[in-house]
Symmetry: C2
Amino acid sequence: MHSFSDRERGLGKVISFVPTMGFLHEGHLSLMRIGKERGDTLVISIFVNPSQFGPGEDFEAYPRDLDKDLELIKHIGADAVFSPERDELYDERFQTYVQLEKLPDHLCGITRPVHFRGVATVVSKLFNIVKPHISLFGEKDFQQVAVIRQMVKDLNFDIAIISAPTIREDDGLAMSSRNTYLTSEQRHSAISLYRSLQKAQELVNRGQKEAKTIVEAATELINSYPDTDIDYISICDPETLDAVNTVNGPTLMALAVNVGKAHLIDNMILTT
Amino acid sequence: MHSFSDRERGLGKVISFVPTMGFLHEGHLSLMRIGKERGDTLVISIFVNPSQFGPGEDFEAYPRDLDKDLELIKHIGADAVFSPERDELYDERFQTYVQLEKLPDHLCGITRPVHFRGVATVVSKLFNIVKPHISLFGEKDFQQVAVIRQMVKDLNFDIAIISAPTIREDDGLAMSSRNTYLTSEQRHSAISLYRSLQKAQELVNRGQKEAKTIVEAATELINSYPDTDIDYISICDPETLDAVNTVNGPTLMALAVNVGKAHLIDNMILTT
């Protein structure tokens, strides 16, 4: 991978890079299309990263289908796919982690305390391996994008981070590899995440600015669906992710809900 | 710096890099000379890195003399000197650290718990800024070299790490910017570090293999000099830095001694 990237860079090509955990869906493919537009050489990585899963999380169960992924990538037309084995990225003496001190203390980082350390570490590794000029991330994982932007700034990576909007199913459910865990009944309950975000924006449109009231309405809506277990619903500053009491100007609403065994997340920028 | 390095790389030049905290001595200059031999473009950084100093350590007191440093570098003939301000590398929202889990739990990391986190972080930053092919480090800072080699491997930096032997004064004292803290009496006591290493090798030559006995002899020797306060004396595995009981094959002896207000370190590979 180092040789490939050195050669492309030596030819003056702009390398765009989409890191993924595979089991690709339209969200990933949209990032790849943007990557192709913005760069000359498109590199995709497929790697289910063990260090971002905590004990008891779904590392083993996480869906994998490399053949289908490669087929989808072939239609997009990538220049390289980097799909290492676990031991190639984490040998038995591995001991170096990239850790942020503030952004992970919010949202998903609270119930998933090692998650963003794992994300920052593997993305650092992949950046050093792929040497891209541009890297693309989906906004469904809002906190992940925030962590990566901060890491790139703090560690002085010479890489432009581009984020792209969440791609949704026809009924509004955010696309996610984890949607495959849902039974057909749970699939119906999963729509409650997006519905609660829509509901929140409606309340804001009608003049409601109290975060507490908006969160209560969202909680009630989600709890009215079977098999839902709210992890968090947060209304917060989109840069620091610190909770806010009132919605004044663009404000992030982010939530995570366990629907059956699927930990689903979604978010929206509420605008006044 | 990014533009400079991109240009040099685009021209096919091999960039060699010597990161320093300035107040240069013959140890630094020896690394620069090796860097010139091994690469086409020599980059030096000068930055007293706040994140590797703990509370109560000598960040403020650390000696600085940029004009003299630039004069010395001019004689060597470097292609670029990178000397950022503190705020350029650490702004008020900085929060990302590179941390190793095992190697810092030894030697200097015990009394300096944030030191190697700071070293790994700033070296990662400088690697991303300077984009070298090769980087050079002095073996006086044995644990630092071990930390950087491990970090480069774990985070997949495409950079060759070259270490070079400690440069010593005529009487054997390892060169260090911190030697400037020593009064003339303390300067005499400072030689006890190297003397204790020589003594250890003599004991090994005479058949002594017990780490405990060797450390006792070194302790006695150092304590016989005024104004010395031993931080640690360790006989350990040169790769893991784990303490060993007996000297079998190449074994690291490393020590740190406070002489007056100077925290001095030295080391030697004991051979049987």
